[in-house]
Amino acid sequence: MLAFILRRLAQSVIVMLVVALIAFMVFRYVGDPIASMVGVDTRLEDQEIMRDRLGLNDPFYVQFGRFIGNAVRGEFGISYRLQQPVSQLILERLPATIELAFASALIALVFGVGLGVFTALKRGSWLSGFIMSASLVGVSLPTFLIGIGLIYIFAVELQWLPSFGRGQTVDLGFWRTGLLTESGLRSLILPAITLSLFQLTLIMRLVRAEMLEVMRTEYIRFARARGLSQRAIHFGHALKNTLVPVITITGLQLGSVIAFAIVTETVFQWPGVGSLFINSVQVVDVPVMAAYLMFIALVFVVINLLVDILYYVVDPRLRVDAAGGAK
């Protein structure tokens, strides 16, 4: 177990180093850092002195090492656009994105599993057929159109829900949350649904496929023969055995949800990390871009690691395999 985790940890560190290298190259070679700091009327000699003082004339590996050292401490320099430390900008906006991502993951999980079980058990009914074809249409529609459609129906026509922003937030000191006020919760609904739809269809199809497979197995037939109630068979025996892949996929998808949040945050003007990134790309705010790249990579690597460990804990067969393989 320990050896397995250590090996995965080492792989994660390598991936992070590669991403850091890319981020560093972006940081260092896209545009001239000096030119973005000083005006055109600064003398060339002064620019050279600055270059020296900032260590931009050092060899490549020294600069890269310094970049890594700063990155580990969470320092990515000052945003060109907003003139604030990048780490502070990201930390300020992180709660909004995390709340959005988790709310959408929750919606996706609850409805995805529910609809998946329903469509698997009632395979022939017209409602399942309708849900399945609706999910196909949902997958091929771009996220931003779904968001705009929801805004049009619920904010413009029905005027039930707000169409932009986070509503009122409560500052808990380290975390600015929108979950404690009514307007905050109401603002969360539409973006969370928009962001969840893709994951929802994915989980639904996965649960349906797994359920159909499990329902054909011997132990389900045996459970029937024992005279267990339908509910105990469906939820106690069948569903339980479909959950391992569902956990994996949901976990792995959480990373892409944070990335997909870029689109949702733009549509709903949600003040999160994604909208910060998109505004930085528009004006080539390099420090923010590099920091966001590192941040997303970290999220992906951590989630991957957690899912691997979780998998290992949940599925006893893997433990046996690893013990046999490790010798």
Partner: protein, 325 residues
């Protein structure tokens, strides 16, 4: 794929005097499984007609568009916000209304389709070119080259394409001098979307190539001393094209959506050359003031385009998959 005959018809033997005359090429093509499954699927027929109409609209936009929306001389600001199916202030008729600058929505959609399809198609071709060459190289050589290419593909596949395209776009923006950005934007977009989608092709081609490599015709060519590149391009490539076509069709739909998303986010094509995504971005500003047509018609066009191409891809996948017959 047209050489595959339907299960009922016997393969004609040319040496045998009693064998029936081999059917002509057109007859043979019409008898193939592909055509059969096409005529049996009304959804596919409708999807292909819609896709064809949209493509024709895009190609012939300068000829059939009622107005030229990018010629400032023909625009009249007083015509702005004309509702659909009505006559404007200046007496012109607009079937789908006008936007805030008085541009005809129908014409901007036609020109927007042009940009969307152009970017989508070229980006897919670019992704295909990279993916196929890397996939062939990886599958044929194996070893370290294979491991390196596939590792990169794995990492890239675990990140959403849109994020990769955004990063490439951002980097390119920093490298290109501001004066040339306007002109280069479309090409940067094509490269960004292409680079974010190559991994699917590489993975599929690599798998198919590894299977083909074991076959006798490849060994025969190798023994004859044919150069590996010639073997790959002339012998292996035609045999792995089936799955590639399926991925390319679905990839085209993805590329169109990706382009629309990037343009919607404001990092795609310049506003002087709006694509469907840009039009939707513009239309969204007028959602609350009641000018729904500026948003609705481009959105419907994008949905129809993405959906019809997607359905064609799904059908092609099923039609080319012998397991499902």
């Amino acid at each position: 794929m047209s050489e595959l005959n339907t299960p009922g018809t016997a393969v004609p033997l040319e040496q045998s005097p009693i064998a029936p005359k081999p059917p002509g090429r057109i007859r043979q093509a019409l008898d193939s499984d592909i055509v059969y499954s096409y005529t049996r699927s009304p959804v596919t027929i409708i999807a292909s007609i819609i896709a064809l109409l949209l493509i024709l609209m895009a190609v012939f936009a300068p000829l059939i568009a009622p107005y030229n929306p990018f010629n400032p001389a023909s625009l009249n600001l007083m015509d702005g916000f004309t509702p659909p199916n009505s006559t404007s202030f200046s007496g012109n008729y607009f079937a789908l209304g006008t936007d805030h600058q008085g541009r005809d929505v129908l014409s901007t959609i036609m020109y927007g389709l042009r940009v969307s399809l152009f970017v989508g198609a070229l980006a897919t071709l670019f992704a295909m070119a990279i993916g196929i060459s890397l996939g062939l190289a990886a599958g044929y050589n194996g070893g370290t080259l294979d491991a390196v290419i596939m590792r990169i593909a794995d990492i890239q596949l675990s990140f959403p394409a849109i994020l990769i395209a955004l990063l490439i776009f951002g980097i390119a923006r920093g490298l290109i001098p501001p004066s040339q950005q306007e002109g280069a934007a479309v090409w940067v977009l094509i490269v960004a979307i292409g680079l974010s989608n190559w991994a699917q092709f590489a993975r599929t081609v690599r798998g198919a190539t590894m299977v083909e490599r074991q076959k006798d015709y490849v060994s025969a060519a190798r023994i004859m001393g044919v150069h590996p590149i010639v073997i790959l391009v002339r012998h292996v490539l035609p045999n792995v094209m089936g799955p590639v076509l399926v991925i390319a069709t679905i990839g085209l739909a993805l590329a169109i959506i990706e382009e629309a998303t990037l343009s919607f986010l404001g990092v795609g094509v310049p506003p002087t050359q709006p694509s469907l995504g840009t039009l939707i971005r513009i239309g969204q500003q007028f959602l609350f003031s009641g000018e729904w047509w500026i948003l609705l018609f481009p959105a419907i066009t994008l949905i129809l385009l993405a959906l019809s191409v997607n359905l064609l891809g799904d059908w092609l996948r099923d039609a080319l998959n012998p397991k499902l017959r």
